[in-house]
Amino acid sequence: MGFLSWLEQTGLATFVRESPSFYGYPTFLFAHTLGLAVVVGISSVVAARMLGVASGIPLAPLRSLFPLMWAGFLINLISGAGLWLADAVNKTIPGDGRQAPIFMTKMFFVIVGAVLLLKIQKKLSGPEADSNTPSSEMRFLSASLLVCWVLAMIAGRLIGYTSAILG
């Protein structure tokens, strides 16, 4: 707790939380939404392709989309870190009506989602891509990814409604 409180008082955390500048909180939130659109957007379309949507799309060229997806993920890692830093105690330590339980639920699904995305990328870099017919394992990974993203988005949105949910 002492460390987290100290983190909250660092220059960056104070800037994100308190600066009246547009480059503070609003820009961090915008970057977080843009990163979401890139990583969750593109990977959801790729997952839908694996599950049979637009099955005419060849799989091998999709490999080159992954660096872009990870760029979106990085944007959200950085902007998310900034947003977390500004409010570290509330988002990390449960109790006293704090946001931590819902925030950590979101983190869980984001991390599982990222691992699934990495696995999909690995499988796609192998011979799997040549057949254009995703294996059942690939379909399972893709369906799980979609579920994780939806749950992460729901939890993420609900962080702001903590008091209504946890009382």
Binding site: L36, G41, S44, V45, V53, A54, G56, I57, L65, R157
Partner: protein, 307 residues
Amino acid sequence: LNYAHIHIVLNHFPTIGTVLGFGLFVAARVKKSEDLQKASLVVLVVMALLGIPTYITGSAAQGIVRNDAGISAAAIEVHQNAAMLAFLFLGITGTFAWLALWQFRRFSRPSSWNITTVFLLSLLTVGLMIRAGTLGGDINHPEIRAEGQELADASQISWRTVGQTFIFDNSWTWPAAETLHFIGLTLLFGVAIMVNLRAMGMVKGVPFMSLHRLLPMGVFGFLLCLLTGMMFFVGNAERYVAVPTFFVKIGLIVLAGINLIYFTMFDQAWEIREDQDAPAVTKLVAVGTLVFLVGALYFGRMIPFLE
């Protein structure tokens, strides 16, 4: 110039345009002309897109004129109910018209059930738009009201109020709509990024034809955003119209929607084969679409900070 002026100019387009679109649609059936049919569908889609700023400037306009002497609040209320209904059906008509355009590519012709659907919906929408327009005209032109015509009584239920009650009296509606707004946004952006980046030269191994199949998924995402976005707007119209950049966001959405028509039906895009470079025009449209969409995302995200 204020939003009331803009509404007065804008409202003519979807009203007259829907009549025109329906007329062309019927003419195309009679003449059995495919080009005419495509034209009619494009008109209906564009009118549905223009319906968004028309509805929104209308809400802004009522705040401006509501307390003016000689303006009947009851007349505004009646027009507003009619406009909401007309806008709803205009949106549904535009969606099915877009689907028909997409089917022209996918199956070389729209399915017959959809032709019937667009016919019936656009006929209904024409009636609803004319009614909304007439009732709107009554607000500022009492001289054209029919002799002895009763002005609606002020106690008529306002659908906007019903909507607001639904949105605010349930603790779950706002967060649920926000979540759906984000899910819709990711679907829309996922498809838009793939399609437009391919046009710009990324993932060249993918032929455009195969990406065309994704478009309904993107449009579904957009409809989720539109539906939940209209919920936010109806629930809190005064708040949104007070944010100047809100109208920039709406304008960018309309522009992105018009670009979607290009990728839905134009040969230039459709004919981009595997490993083939897109024509310069297609690249330009793709850059434009992404700029419009990211702009809409930016101005949307900024709404709470610009109040």
